[in-house]
């Protein structure tokens, strides 16, 4: 017998199911008032410094149908690229948001401040991006991905640089559709499948 490791294995994931909204954004599920306010209603407070942007999109399954039950979370730095809670970070940027696909149209909207470039590991610089986590019925473990911007320089980003199949990089780039407006669709499988991470 070898020595016993004293580490613990991570608890296995299970699907969030179709009623994830009850526990995460109860007002959406029809439980308005159980808490004073749903958690993560907005990643910013009034007065956040930087450009206010709106990102619209959908999460599509392999048949091209937009999920009506997806719940997304986002996490990002402030306009200066500082993580909320760190020294010098904009106190008006909480950085975390929860938003759901509309139950009728399947479209989601994220209104936030455009993040700045951030430090990566090993002295690298990460291009401005928003980290995303997607759960829904039929998703057995939350999907990690990132949203970058097509009006930023993404050439030297250390994470995008690791994507060997270069045409797939485009799946992580939000497209500008107007002043302060971007489109970002997520495809779970099939043509144009979004790059998902294991990080």
């Amino acid at each position: 017998m070898v020595q016993k490791l004293d580490t613990l294995p991570e608890t296995p994931s299970q699907t969030a199911g179709p009623y994830v909204h009850i526990g995460t954004i109860p007002t959406f599920a029809g439980l308005a008032g159980i808490y004073p306010e749903d958690l993560g209603l907005s990643p910013i407070a009034d007065g956040a410094k930087g450009e206010i942007i709106t990102i619209t999109g959908s999460v599509f399954d392999g048949t091209g149908w937009a999920l009506r039950d997806a719940m997304l979370e986002s996490w990002q730095a402030d306009a200066q690229g500082r993580w909320p809670g760190s020294d010098g970070a904009d106190p008006k940027v909480g950085g975390f948001c929860r938003f759901a696909a509309d139950k009728d149209s399947g479209e989601f909207v994220l209104r936030t401040v455009k993040p700045g470039a951030t430090k990566g590991r090993g002295g690298t610089t990460q291009s401005p991006h928003i980290a995303l986590w997607i759960v829904a019925r039929g998703i057995n473990i939350g999907l990690q991905t990132r949203l970058y911007f097509d009006d930023e320089d993404n050439a030297a980003d250390p994470v995008l640089g690791k994507i060997e199949l270069r045409p797939r990089v485009d799946t992580l780039i939000a497209k500008k559709t107007g002043p302060g407006a971007y489109r970002f669709d997520i495809r779970l499988q099939g043509a144009g499948e979004t790059v998902f991470f294991d990080m």
């Binding site: 613990l8 526990g23 995460t24 439980l31 999920l67 979370e73 996490w75 039929g138 057995n140």
Partner: protein
């Protein structure tokens, strides 16, 4: 920002695969292409923190939180308790834990749930709390009912409570489900069976814990949760305190 080391890579064999033919909804919702495995960055190693200020007095009491204490929910009274730890065996303090569940009849209070079982006017079905300095948490709730769902011919979910945990970094984010010891439906459930290792599935089954049950009041079930840890060796870039 102090570098606490990268997150320990996920052992994906412990988790359910994305595609599972017996859980039909996964078929069109599972990525076909491989995940891109990379070392974590500050984007995954930081995350939102929530203070006790967001919590109301009844937030972790699902028997009373929907009616603001006016009337109790119908059902078998149960204490759900445990600890949040990381892979290094350390307590995860001050982390938000959220739960949601069906009522005693197996019906969710959700705009999309139309099951025959009635809503309980005294039960909402969600709760939240923050772990203490030792990572401990507690909820008082009712035992959720089993319920049927459309998948194969005659499919029933075992009694379960959904759990969402944050940890201290976005890369630790986890949603899972707690099952109840002795429920015969666990072994018939294709969602439970997405976990291919029996020993891993057993970790989602909470044992009856009479040491925490209160006589003439409630039963107790213990459910510990392990989140990803961080790798700290002498050979990382910058270590806390070194």
């Amino acid at each position: 920002m102090t570098d606490l080391g990268p997150l320990i890579p996920r052992d994906r064999a412990m988790h359910p695969p994305a595609y599972d033919v017996d859980y039909k909804t996964t078929i069109a919702r599972s990525p076909n292409l491989p995940l891109l495995s990379l070392e974590s960055t500050p984007s995954e190693e930081t995350g939102p923190r929530f203070g006790h200020g967001i919590l109301g007095a009844l937030d972790n009491n699902l028997i009373y939180n929907w009616t603001k204490g006016a009337a109790p929910a119908v059902g078998e009274r149960v204490l759900m308790h445990g600890r949040v730890l990381d892979e290094n065996g350390r307590a995860v303090p001050n982390t938000l834990i959220e739960i949601w569940q069906a009522n005693a009849g197996g019906r969710y209070r959700h705009i999309k749930d139309t099951y025959l079982a009635p809503l309980d006017p005294n039960f909402g079905g969600c709760g939240r709390t923050i772990s203490d300095a030792e990572g401990r948490y507690q909820f008082l709730t009712i035992r959720p009912g089993a319920y049927p769902w459309p998948n194969r011919g005659n499919e029933w979910r075992p009694m379960h409570i959904h759990i969402s945990v944050f940890g201290h970094s976005f890369g630790q984010r986890l949603i899972t489900q707690m099952y109840f010891e002795g429920d015969p439906l666990i072994d018939r459930c294709p969602i439970a069976a997405t976990i291919k290792s029996r020993s891993q599935l057993d970790r989602l089954v909470a044992p009856l814990d009479m040491s925490h049950a209160r006589p003439l009041d409630f039963l107790a079930y213990k459910f510990d949760i392990v989140l990803r840890g961080r790798r700290q060796t002498m050979f990382e870039n910058k270590l806390e305190g070194m």
